[in-house]
């Protein structure tokens, strides 16, 4: 997942694809967020009430189906997406990771490519 929420449809498409694949009985190895895609992992976004909440929707998917949501650590650090540990390590006064998201390395992307039958990229 290579694009942030709202500016591009890519995140919506990735979400709908993942949800549909789960409904059809497929296994999702993981969802890996890279480039601006890491912005999907913030818990501080406050979209208008009549709009969808992209990051909350991902969190629900993780909560209901145990889908692994991984943010690339280097991409996340560049863009200010920090969990509690990363925030402490970097000496920041806050963290903003949404529930169900985890920070890990690019190796998780390659590992998923090896494990899965199909790797699907969403982005521009």
């Amino acid at each position: 997942m290579n694009e942030g929420p709202y500016t591009h449809q890519a995140s919506d498409s990735a979400y709908h694809f993942t949800a549909a694949a789960l409904r059809a009985g497929h296994e999702i190895v993981r969802v890996f967020f890279y480039h601006d895609g890491v912005n999907n992992g913030t818990r501080l976004s406050v979209p208008p009430q009549d709009d969808r909440n992209v990051s909350e929707r991902w969190s629900e998917l993780a909560n209901e189906h145990g889908v692994e949501l991984i943010l690339c650590v280097a991409a996340a650090q560049r863009r200010g997406l920090l969990d509690e540990d990363e925030a402490k390590r970097a000496g920041k006064d806050s963290n903003n990771m949404a529930p169900g998201f985890q920070i890990s390395g690019l190796g998780q992307l390659i590992d998923a490519g090896i494990q899965a039958d199909r790797l699907v990229v969403f982005g521009d």
Binding site: H35, A75, L106, L109, I110, G113, I114, V121
Partner: protein, 134 residues
């Protein structure tokens, strides 16, 4: 661990967006997984391999020297689309030389860059297990 054919498709200029730089980061990390790796450069992606890049005017990091390390990471299949070069008035001489040492040929230094037609590249893409687009 299973070995798969991974192809990284690079379509964007080295600067103007972060895709080129973060693609290279994936390729270097992925080297540790000992997969069968190829890189393709198409469209503005061919600019990533230009010689003598200088980013001092835009204040961005010049990460182009890193491509020269690819050979040390066993990345030796680098495909550049002929049509993309021609459309931009470029030839192979405009690209930085990228080489690797062939362990099956007494460590002879060989050229990693292969300029291929769009049709040949389509066949290469068709042979892959995993394709990552940047």
């Amino acid at each position: 661990m299973a070995t798969k054919k991974f192809l990284y498709v690079n379509r964007t200029a080295p600067h103007g967006s972060i895709y080129a730089q973060e693609s290279l980061e994936v390729v270097l990390i992925a080297a540790a997984f000992e997969q069968d790796v190829s890189l393709a450069f198409i469209d503005d992606g061919v600019y990533q391999l230009m010689q003598n890049q200088d980013t001092s005017g835009i204040g961005s990091k010049n990460f182009s020297p890193t491509y020269k390390a690819l050979g040390d990471y066993d990345v030796s299949k680098i495909y550049v689309e002929q049509e993309s070069l021609e459309l931009r008035g470029l030839g192979k001489d405009d690209l930085m030389p990228l080489t690797y040492e062939d362990e099956d040929d007494d460590w002879a230094e060989k050229d990693s860059i292969h300029v291929v037609s769009s049709k040949e590249l389509a066949e290469i893409i068709d042979q892959q297990d995993v394709i990552l687009n940047f």
